[in-house]
Amino acid sequence: MLDIRHLSKVYPDGTKGLDDVTFSVAPGEFVVIIGLSGSGKSTLLRCINRLIEPSSGQVVLDGVDVTAAKPGALRAIRRDIGMIFQQFNLVKRSSVLTNVLTGRLGSVATLPSVLGIWSAADRATALANLELVGIAAKADSRADALSGGQQQRVGIARALMQNPKLILADEPVASLDPATSHTVLDYLRTLNTERGVTVLCSLHFLSLAREYGTRIIALKDGRLMFDGLPRDIDEARFKAIYGEDAVEVEIR
């Protein structure tokens, strides 16, 4: 469903964030992207929905060329791609419910949404999604009153409002403790298996990647180093990705 073709990104200062990356993702996959800090994981994910403009190459989603889309069309494409962020990116002073509702902005009319008017159906969906991630009781709290794990679940609920075909998750658990990390990733996996949402998720720890990914893509210095099944990452490949001195850490 997602085709990445020769995707490159050169930042204005000359840094190569991505260097000729090509791969494709089939529907229903849970692809984990791993790599050292600075290897280009965020760049890749943001190039897919063009929060960052790629320098060259193509991103094709369900046959539609994302890289060539005009602003209107791009918004329509983004509507189908949910995104989850490491820093949650919630509006801290808004309520949880409002934060979740903002996930619908790509699909609702501008005027009422600017006035803060939401349809009953949207509200119901938002509550249902909060229910799904287990924090419906907090719907009226302010976002910054929640713990990190809860905030990330709000982030997921927000992404769910888009009813996405694809979820891009950029280190969704990097700010969370191990136990909470599992809860959050479990939600993502549920979405993946039960709703058939394709997930593209960058993670720091190989152990988490092995546990949740159906497939792993490794980046190093913006280049694709590995693309295969979790169990295929052996000692040698691990060292190639993370460097000679790296030791694999277990997250439990």
């Binding site: 929905n49 929060l51 949650f88 990116n89 509006v91 903002t102 927000r158």
Partner: protein, 872 residues
């Protein structure tokens, strides 16, 4: 400060330095030092040249000035020589020497008149007395009064005696007996129903409504009194007395009893002050609200992070931000003067000025807030496919609301202060009242009371707005949940009340009156250059009154004036006649001034003739004809003719700087010097105050705390009085329109602001060194000198520069309301609708304010770097 390799001989450096300050340093390779020396030399030179060119400067003063500048000249050359030898003397001595001539000029140019200061104290004392013991409450009086008509003189069939007085009326009644009398005759006034045993004042009410005291009496225990008064002979206007002495005029007597009720209430002064203060509050409140409403949408367009997309969005961003910056640089008081022309005197003009300035100021703050927000949510919402508006509404707005509310509260604070002075230029509110009261010697106590009430409003406001902003910044709610709707309701109610009180009248605003268009056109063409002028004078005789045997045409003759002629259309005239003054054959663009020289030696400058070119044509040239009415004075010395003198001014010669531009340039230097003087003296006065107002310095003893509290209160009271109000006080004291009152007002502002900032810097010091020195046995003064002062000096200097910048800005304002400098001329030109000249002054102000902004920012940066580089 290493300048790299040094070269050149010390002698060469000395010589070059003597030749041109800074040159010696340049030759030795001490370039950076040389630049600073040159800059100082330029400053000295500018000030010296300026002073030498000022009119009325005695030659001896110039000689002294040269003498004052000499040490710097020599010292910098010696310094260059020292640099050539590789030494690096401290820069302070050089700086001080450069300051000497500048301060010498500054002191003279700002015309400090300490003698006047002392001598006029008795004049302004009532003002301070009013401030110290304000007239706030007065006993509430019950009044009983009654009135009865008196005809002067009697009509033919009028009864000559009064009706009897009712014995126990419900309300006081009086009768006048007789009810009609000739002027100067006596009338008995009998009253009943008044309070018992009370003093009665009897007033005469004249036919035109004037009141005068006519007599007094006391009521008996039954509330009855009797008094005899005289009908004042001048109570009927002279004209009527002469023309119709027998027509009865309607006059009256009134009896008045005022008794204290034992209760106290607001005095007359306080009620008046409060009603004007209400207008101030209303217009500041409304201005803040409207400014916030307009600023919010603009702020989104002025936020770089939201407008980064395409070239045209970036263009909109630049436009909006640039516009805000320009508008912000124009002081609200200046804007108010423009709006007074636009929508007339009154609160509405003040409101418009505050709104426009507020939109720019708040817009900038809002935009900066938007630029500083967490980009995460914006990205997230954009990632969900939201449009620009949606991003603004859901990603940006919720994030900026709390800081924005904080800024609005802050703006409200500023606007209230401005609201107290906007009336000084006609913008309504308490300032309008104060500017009238303070000009009248007998109302000075009332003016003092008004100042007291203003301070009473503003001082607590400072604390309240500070507390509210702190709460908002901390994210704490302002009160329990139920307060929210209450606040909303209060704001809405205030808005409605303010709208009425501020006399909002949008119809005055739109359509724009023609005069505004004219002003804008003239402002757009500042009068920067002018031509010199050739003046020719001639006069023609006019005989008044016409002697017997003369007719109007006798004695007419044409007098040559320049290339043309001057003639009257008649040789003699009688008082009240019209005379035509005809000037023909004038070159185009000629201006004519007419002056009557009467035979008794008096004169009258009468007409400034039209300056337009091209009337008439061909061999006649331009013809100007002015009609004049002959007045009484012309006939004062029969037999001797009155002369009508014409002065024809023809533009000639090369273009040169116009008079307003020359004045502007000169007054800008004066303005900067005024600011410099005020900053220096204000800062010097602020230092001792700062120590007294620093909690950690004053300690926890009872005396210490009391002094601390008193110093704080003094500082915040002075800060509560706007600079423009201080100018009013000092202008009343030492003279309107001179630099001295302006400098005094600025010193007040400076010492209050710097006192606060200095003391806060003192409170912020690291207590460690203090403890260490105290532990090492240092006494209080030693601790101050070695542990405290070194820690605060850099920030004090930075605050000082910062305040110089503020003072330059303020001294333009201070001039507007009577404090001298460029602002004074600006206000004069604006008040006399010479907008092309005003435009020059405005340009000058904007330029100098912007330049000072940049310079002071640079200096502070330098200072900050110097501080961080130097070991502690």
């Amino acid at each position: 400060m290493k300048d790299g390799r040094r070269r050149g001989s010390p002698a060469l450096a000395l010589g070059a330095g003597l030749l041109l300050p800074g040159l010696g340093h340049a030759l030795t390779g001490a370039r950076a030092r040389g630049r600073i020396v040159s800059a100082a030399a330029v400053a000295v030179a500018v000030v010296a040249v300026w002073y030498a060119l000022e009119p009325g400067v005695p030659a001896s003063a110039r000689a002294w000035l040269a003498l004052a500048a000499a040490p710097f000249w020599i010292a910098q050359a010696l310094d260059a020589a020292a640099c050539a030898r590789g030494a690096e003397p401290g820069p302070w001595r050089l700086g001080l020497l450069a300051a000497v001539p500048i301060y010498a000029v500054g002191l003279r140019a700002t015309e400090p008149n300490v003698g006047e200061f002392a001598a006029r104290w008795t004049y302004v004392r009532p003002l301070f007395a009013g401030l110290a013991s304000p007239d706030l409450i007065a006993p509430v009086l019950t009044t009983g009064s009654a009135q009865a008509r008196v005809h002067t003189p009697c009509g033919p069939d009028e009864p000559r005696s009064a009706a009897p007085l009712p014995s126990a009326p419900a309300a006081p009644v009086i009768v006048a007996d007789p009810p009609c009398v000739a002027l100067g005759g006596r009338v008995t006034v009998r009253g009943s129903g008044f309070p018992p045993d009370a003093a009665v004042r009897v007033l005469w009410i004249s036919s035109v409504g004037g009141e005068s005291a006519a007599g007094a009496a006391r009521t008996d225990p039954g509330g009855v009194f009797e008094a005899t008064v005289t009908a004042p002979p001048d109570s009927v206007p002279q004209r009527i007395r002469e023309r119709s002495p027998n027509v009865p005029q309607n006059q009256a007597v009134r009896a008045l009893v005022e008794l204290p009720t034992g209760r106290w209430g607001p005095s007359q002064t306080l009620s008046t002050v409060l009603s004007f203060l209400g207008v101030t509050v209303a217009l500041s409140f409304l201005a803040t609200l409207l400014a916030a409403l307009f600023a919010l949408p603009l702020a989104f367009l002025g936020a770089r992070n939201l407008m980064g997309g395409r070239w045209w969005t970036r263009g909109v961003y630049r436009l909006v931000r640039g516009g805000m910056n320009v508008v912000r640089a124009v002081e609200p008081l200046i804007m108010a003067i423009v709006f007074v022309v636009w929508v007339d005197l009154g609160p509405f003009a003040g409101l418009c000025a505050l709104v426009v300035h507020g939109v720019a100021a708040l817009g900038k703050l809002f935009s900066e807030t938007i630029e500083g927000i967490d980009p995460g949510p914006v990205e997230a919402i954009r990632a969900a496919g939201a449009t620009w508006l949606q991003v603004a509404r859901h990603g940006v707005l919720p994030q900026i609301v709390p800081p924005a509310v904080g800024y609005v509260v802050y703006r409200m604070d500023i606007n209230l202060r401005l609201g107290t002075v906007i009336g000084l230029v006609g913008g309504g509110g308490i300032g309008m009242l104060l500017s009238q009261w303070i000009r009248k010697p007998d109302l000075l106590p009332q003016a003092g009371t008004a100042l007291f009430v203003i301070a009473l409003l503003i001082v607590p406001l400072d604390f309240v707005s500070g507390a509210v902003r702190e709460r908002i910044a901390d994210g704490r709610p302002l009160g329990p949940r139920w307060t929210r709707p209450v606040i909303y309701f209060a704001v809405a109610a205030m808005a409605v009340w303010s709208w009425r009180t501020a006399e909002v009248d949008l119809a005055k605003f739109w359509p724009v009156p023609d005069r505004v268009a004219t002003i804008v056109r003239q402002l757009a063409r500042p009068e920067l250059v002018e031509r010199g002028a050739d003046e020719t004078v001639a006069s023609a005789d006019l005989i008044v009154p016409c002697p017997a045997g003369f007719d109007e045409t006798t004695g007419r003759e044409a007098v040559p004036i320049g290339a043309g002629t001057l003639a009257l259309d008649r040789g003699c005239a009688n008082t009240g006649d019209g005379v035509g003054v005809v000037l023909s054959g004038l070159p185009p663009g000629a201006a004519v001034r007419l002056r009557w020289l009467f035979a008794d030696g008096s004169g009258r400058l009468d007409a400034v003739g039209p300056t337009s070119a091209g009337q008439g044509s061909g061999d006649v040239g331009t013809v100007i004809e002015v009609r004049q009415i002959v007045e009484d004075r012309a006939a004062a010395a029969p037999g001797r003719p009155t002369q009508i003198e014409a002065t024809v001014t023809v533009p000639a010669g090369p273009l040169r700087l116009s008079q307003p531009l020359r004045i502007t340039l000169s007054k800008i230097v004066l303005t900067i010097l005024m600011a410099l003087m005020a900053t220096t003296f204000g800062a010097l006065l602020a230092i001792p105050l700062a120590f007294l107002a620093a909690r950690n310095i004053m300690g926890t003893t009872v005396v210490g705390r009391a002094v601390y509290g008193a110093a704080r209160l003094f500082l915040s009271t002075v800060r509560a009085i706007e600079p423009a109000l201080l100018v009013q006080v000092f202008a009343t004291w030492v003279g309107l329109g001179k630099p001295f009152p302006g400098v005094l007002a600025l010193i007040g502002v400076t010492l209050a602001n710097l006192g606060k900032l200095f003391s806060e810097a003192l409170e912020d010091i690291d207590a460690g060194p203090v403890e260490a020195l105290r532990g090492a046995g240092a006494n209080r003064l030693q601790v101050l000198r070695y542990a405290v002062v070194p820690q605060v000096v850099p920030s004090w200097l930075a605050f000082g520069f910062y305040h110089w910048d503020i003072n330059v800005r303020l001294s333009t304002i201070v001039g507007l309301v009577g404090g001298g400098g460029i602002g004074y001329h600006l206000s004069q030109w604006m008040n006399t609708t010479q907008w092309r000249k005003a435009s020059v002054a405005l340009l000058g102000i904007i330029l100098v304010v912007t330049a000072m902004d940049t310079i002071s920012a640079r200096l502070r940066e330098r200072l900050a770097q110097g501080v961080s580089r130097r070991p502690a």
